[in-house]
Symmetry: C2
C-alpha cells in the first residue's frame, strides 16, 4: 500500500514529496546501523530493525544490500578509509620513526574512541564475510602498508631489530588491535576504572613505555 508514502510524508523533513524514501534509504540504513552498533553492539543490528526504524517494510533493505554481511562490509570499507586518513595525519605530525610508531598507536586508539561503531565491526571480520566481499580485505591493506613503511624507517634508525620487518610489524599491529579489542570489550575500561585512570590515558602510557624501549641504545 502507500503506507511507506504516508509514513515518509509524516516524518519527512522535506514534505514536498519523495515517496519511497528515494535514494536516501541506503544512507539512512547505514547511519542507523552505526548508531545501533554504538549503542547496543553488533548483536543488536538486524536489517528488520533498521527497516522498522526507517519506516519501511522488512524487505526494503535488500534492494540496497544483498544481505546483512554487505551492510557490515560497507561499514568496514568506510572505517578503513577513516582510519587510514587518521594514521596518515599522525605520521605527518611526528618527527622520527620511533615517535611515529608511538603516535600511530595512539592514533589507532583515538580512532576507536571517536568511531567505536566502525571499529567494533572492523574487529569482527566474519560479520562482513570477507570471502564473499573482497573489497573488505582490500580496504585493510593501506593501513598495514603505512605501518610497514614506518617500521622500515625505524630499522634505518636502528630503533628496532634489523632484517625482516614482519615480526616488528606484527608486534605493533597486534598491540594496536589487542588494546582496542580489550578496550571496546570492557576489560581495559574496567581495569582502568579500578586504577583511577582512563583507557585514553593508558594507551598513551603504553606508548611511552614502548618509546622508552625503542630509544635504548641497540646492543
Amino acid at each position: 500500500m502507500r503506507q511507506g508514502v504516508d509514513q515518509h510524508a509524516d516524518s519527512g523533513v522535506d514534505p514536498g514529496g519523495r515517496p519511497y524514501h528515494h535514494g536516501a534509504l541506503r544512507a539512512r540504513l547505514l547511519a542507523a546501523g552505526l548508531d545501533l552498533v554504538a549503542a547496543e553492539g553488533v548483536g543488536a543490528l538486524s536489517l528488520r530493525r533498521l527497516a522498522r526504524e526507517a519506516g519501511v517494510s522488512s524487505g526494503a533493505p535488500y534492494h540496497h544490500f544483498p544481505d546483512r554481511a554487505a551492510l557490515f562490509a560497507a561499514i568496514v570499507v568506510d572505517g578503513h578509509d577513516l582510519l587510514f586518513t587518521r594514521l596518515d595525519a599522525a605520521r605527518a605530525g611526528s618527527s622520527d620513526a620511533v615517535a611515529t610508531l608511538c603516535e600511530l598507536l595512539v592514533a589507532y586508539a583515538g580512532f576507536a574512541a571517536d568511531h567505536p561503531a566502525h571499529m567494533r565491526v572492523m574487529l569482527r571480520p566474519e560479520l562482513a564475510e570477507p570471502a564473499a566481499h573482497p573489497e573488505v580485505t582490500a580496504a585493510g591493506v593501506r593501513p598495514i602498508e603505512l605501518l610497514r613503511s614506518v617500521v622500515l624507517a625505524a630499522q634505518d634508525e636502528g630503533a628496532v631489530p634489523p632484517g625482516d620487518p614482519e615480526p616488528v610489524l606484527h608486534m605493533f599491529w597486534s598491540l594496536a588491535v589487542g588494546y582496542v579489542t580489550l578496550w571496546l570489550d570492557g576489560p581495559v575500561e574496567a581495569r582502568c576504572a579500578v586504577l583511577g585512570t582512563t583507557p585514553d590515558e593508558m594507551i598513551r602510557r603504553v606508548a611511552s613505555a614502548v618509546e622508552e624501549l625503542l630509544r635504548r641504545p641497540p646492543a
Copy 2:
C-alpha cells in the same frame, strides 16, 4: 513421548538403560558446542542445533544452561583454567623474567592453537554476557595476575621501565590478545601464507624481537 528413550537406546554405547540422557547431556552439549565452534565458528552455535545433534528436544538444553550465554560462560571458565595451567607451566620453564615474558607470549598463542574453540569464545566476552555471569570475569583474573607478577620481576631486573607496572602489563596483554585475534580471524594466517611462513613461527619471531628490545641496556 518416549522418543528420547528410544533414540538413546538406539545410539547408546550403554544399552543397559539410561533414558533421558541422564546427567551426560550437559557434558555432551558442551563438547558438541566446542566442536561446532572449532568447525564453523561461534555464529554457527545454537542450542537448538546442539539439541538436534544430541537427539533431544529443543527445550532440553535449558535444563542445564539457563540460556545460550550460560553455555558460553561455561566454555570461558573452562578455557581460562586451561590457559592458566599452560601459562604457569611456561613460567616454570623459563630462566629470567625477560625469557618468561617471551615464553608467556608463545604459550598464549600455543593455547589458542591447541584450543581454538575455547579461545574464540574467550575473545568475544559479550557471548557469555559477563554482566549476567560474574564467574566469567572472575576466571580471567588469574592469568592477568600471573602476567603482572612477571612484569614486576622484569622491573626488578631493569628489563622494562620502572614505576607503575600497568602500562607494560597492558602492553603484553594487548600484544597477546591482538596476535591471537588476528590469527583466529584470518589476517595473520593470510599474511604468513604470502610470506611463506606460519603463524606459529611468526609469534616466535615476534617474541624474539621483543626479547631483543628487552635485553638492551636501559638508558
